[in-house]
């Protein structure tokens, strides 16, 4: 993953191609020609994505060696803007949106800077009207944008980057660690990934808000879900809804036989896994989610469970499953994953192992307690937002909310980890 000015060309290609293809699609009355222009747009978009993201993986898988790998750098944000651009031409083809005639505005839609490198994957009919609208600087927008940004920076610099200090050494040297340390690292990674990615979203969203823009909702407190099905309604919503609209529904959605539906779900989750990167571990991660999603669906149906809402057992189950699933996401290869799972599922957990893994000093305990406290704080804040506690309380808005965010801002500098750790999703 890197950025190089020459790679800006890769941003220009989808802008020009999709701008032109969309215009042609709207002009053609002949369905075959319309389809041809759409195919051209998809082919070029996916072709670029495939070349930069999967060529070396494919070469490595075929020849079982990295010797023939090409010197390719994955351009930052390519997965996001390719999907965003692709959704536009598909929507034009479907007649959902009218093509944009002003190429500058269209270029702004694709390259809108707050969300360019790691999403959310915007939709044309959501962002474009805002690009057309006139924006004035409003103090309320500024304050609200700053609040969102502060929370985003806190999640990224304080929670995610601190957890990295525990997670990285454990995963990178996993043969040296016991099951209990690996399990804790797995849970920490789940939190780290969430805070890293949603932290980026908050910063992007806050930045956009300063200018009077509202970005599409991407996170709905997924770690408070009580099931995997619910989790996917809340996690990386812009990608999930993209897959729903442009993969799942064209495959037939749920208006097909049960066998075909199961297949459709698996396909969507496998593609979602592969979208994250060219590694078998992402495929395993996608498959695990697909299988559990289906099992959950049928279990609920057989047991006639209709109740929705928060359940403590469901929540614990969700966190346990996601911890295990995201270990696959974090592992560097199948061999590592096997090693980690075999240690975790041997269930030989003991505090002594944990202590000897980290040669505990007072300082380690101090840092560990801070991390646990930060995770507890994260869940508290999410619960507060989920249940809209204090929202209608005037003294909260006037006194406590500003103090809370000022405290949060200062704690970023006190507790933050400033050793320039890039966002995890920049690599996708």
């Amino acid at each position: 993953m890197s950025w190089n000015p020459t790679y800006a060309f890769l941003l220009v290609v989808p802008i020009c191609v999709d701008y032109y293809c969309a215009l042609q699609i709207s002009r053609q009355l002949n369905k075959t020609k319309r389809r041809l222009w759409l195919s051209a747009s998809i082919f070029i978009g996916l072709g670029m994505l495939f070349f930069y993201k999967y060529t070396n993986f494919l070469i490595g898988s075929i020849f079982s060696t990295k010797e023939f790998s090409l010197d390719i750098i994955l351009p930052v944000g390519i997965s996001f803007y390719t999907f965003q651009s692709m959704s536009y031409t598909i929507d034009v083809y479907r007649g959902v949106v009218h093509p944009e005639k002003n190429i500058a505005r269209f270029a702004l839609f694709i390259s809108f800077f707050p969300q360019l490198v790691a999403g959310p994957i915007e939709r044309f009919n959501h962002l474009m009207p805002q690009i057309y609208a006139k924006h004035k600087l409003h103090i309320q927008n500024v304050l609200s944008g700053l609040r969102i940004m502060v929370w985003g920076f806190f999640k990224k610099i304080v929670i995610a980057d601190r957890l990295t200090l525990y997670v990285d050494p454990v995963f990178n040297n996993n043969p040296e660690y016991s099951g209990i340390s690996l399990l804790i690292a797995g849970f920490f990674f789940l939190i780290q990934l969430y805070c890293d990615f949603s932290g980026y979203y908050d910063i992007a969203c806050g930045t956009a808000r300063l200018f009077g823009y509202n970005l599409i909702e991407n996170w709905k407190r997924p770690l408070l879900s009580s099931s995997v099905i619910e989790f996917w309604r809340r996690w990386h919503i812009s990608l999930t809804s993209w897959f729903k609209d442009y993969v799942y529904i064209p495959l037939g959605g749920n208006r097909v036989s049960k066998v075909k539906w199961v297949l459709n779900i698996l396909i969507v989750f496998i593609i979602s896994g592969i979208w994250h990167g060219a590694n078998w571990t992402f495929l395993i991660w996608g498959m695990m989610h697909g299988i559990v999603f289906i099992l959950e669906y049928f279990t609920k149906k057989v047991l006639k469970i209709t109740a929705s809402g928060f359940s403590i057992f469901g929540w614990i189950y969700l966190l346990a499953f996601e911890t295990i699933a995201f270990i696959a996401f974090r592992s560097s290869g199948v061999h590592d994953l096997y090693n980690i799972y075999s240690k975790i599922f041997s269930f030989q957990y003991s505090i002594e192992n944990f202590i000897s893994d980290f040669q505990m000093s007072r300082f380690f305990i101090f840092s560990f307690i801070i991390n646990v406290a930060l995770i507890a704080f994260l869940f508290f804040k999410e619960l507060k937002d989920e249940n809209s506690w204090l929202v209608d309380n005037p003294s909260y808005k006037k006194i406590w909310r500003p103090l809370f965010y000022i405290g949060l801002f200062i704690s970023i500098f006190v507790l933050g980890e400033f050793n320039l750790k890039e966002f995890i999703y920049f690599q996708f």
């Binding site: 103090i139 500024v142 300082f363 500003p402 000022i406 200062i410 500098f413 400033f418």
Partner: protein
């Protein structure tokens, strides 16, 4: 808009307050490195002999043994990662508030001068933050080495961002009176390296290199000599033991050592080189090739103190 100004003011005030909270805690440490920094930068001292140098000075010179053998009141000012410029600052800062000592031991690390290598900042620089407002000499000297010290002093958020958990912990440790393993055997600036830090270096490979001290090192030595002359302190040059394989891997130090010897000769200063002493061949006395362990420091300090006593009795 007024609201925004109020928030910004509040943030700045709180930033200074939070930072001062940690600084104050750091200054409450009764043992270990921060106690030494307090002694060095804040207190008025009256020692007969002070030891200036890096981590080697800090962990090699046992002040308890030196005091017992020589009947002098000594203090070890050695600081981990201190290069020559920082050693000069150590001495100058000490003299700012304290009575000049009779003797200044300068431990020379000739083996750390790799060709062309020059750090652009100070090793573990956040440890000096709590003292920037109280010791202008320290601030000015550090600012000469690293310009960011202006911002470290005046921008609380910039300095807080550079203080990782270790420094926050040091602040809290001070309030709670906790000590860590390194602090437990701390005595008047001497901090032996605990057994847990012992490294197996028997199979370590030593790539040979040329020791080439930059011009700034020569000028620092010169200025240390000048300072000592000014306050009438007698300088004692010491090269404390390093593991023989490490010593053998270094070439080209002759010119620098000849320079030190010539200063010593010219000013009638004591010069003691232990880099070829028999204890340099005993791996069991070392924690790593550059540092003696606790046992090694006891043996060395005894030898050094006896040598010093003899020299001073002449």
């Amino acid at each position: 808009m007024r609201k925004l100004i109020v928030y910004i003011t509040l943030i700045i005030v709180l930033g200074f307050a939070v930072r001062e909270f940690f600084y104050f805690g750091t200054k409450q440490n009764q043992a270990g490195e921060y106690n030494k920094l307090n002694t060095l930068f804040l207190k008025e001292n009256n020692y007969d002999l002070i030891i200036v140098g890096s981590s080697r000075a800090e962990s090699h010179f046992n002040t308890f043994i030196i005091d017992s053998v020589t009947n002098l009141n000594s203090y070890n000012l050695g600081l981990e990662g201190a290069e020559m410029e920082l050693m000069r600052t150590q001495l100058e800062s000490y003299l700012l508030n304290s009575k000049p000592p009779k003797y200044v031991v300068l431990n020379i690390d000739y083996h750390i001068f790799y060709e062309g290598e020059k750090e652009d900042t100070i090793y573990r620089f956040p440890r000096f933050f709590p003292y920037l407002f109280y010791n202008n000499l320290l601030y000015n000297n550090l600012k000469k080495i690293d310009k960011r010290f202006f911002y470290f002093k005046w921008n609380p958020f910039y300095s807080l961002a550079h203080m990782d958990d270790k420094y926050i912990y040091a602040g809290l440790k001070g309030y709670m009176g906790i000590t860590n393993k390194l602090d437990e055997k701390y005595y008047k600036g001497f901090t032996p390296i605990p057994d847990e830090f012992q490294r197996d270096f028997s199979k370590e490979k030593y790539t040979s290199y040329k020791s080439s001290p930059p011009a700034s090192v020569y000028s620092c030595i010169k200025s240390i000599v000048h300072i000592c002359k000014k306050v009438n302190s007698k300088l004692i040059f010491v090269i404390s033991p390093i593991y023989y394989k490490r010593v053998n891997s270094i070439t080209g130090e002759e010119m620098f050592m000849a320079y030190i010897k010539s200063i010593a000769r010219k000013n009638s200063y004591i010069y003691k080189d232990y880099s070829t002493h028999s204890l340099c061949f005993n791996a069991s006395l070392f924690s790593d090739p550059n540092h003696l362990n606790e046992k090694g420091s006891t043996v060395f300090s005894l030898i050094f103190a006896q040598d010093l006593y003899k020299e001073l009795s002449k």
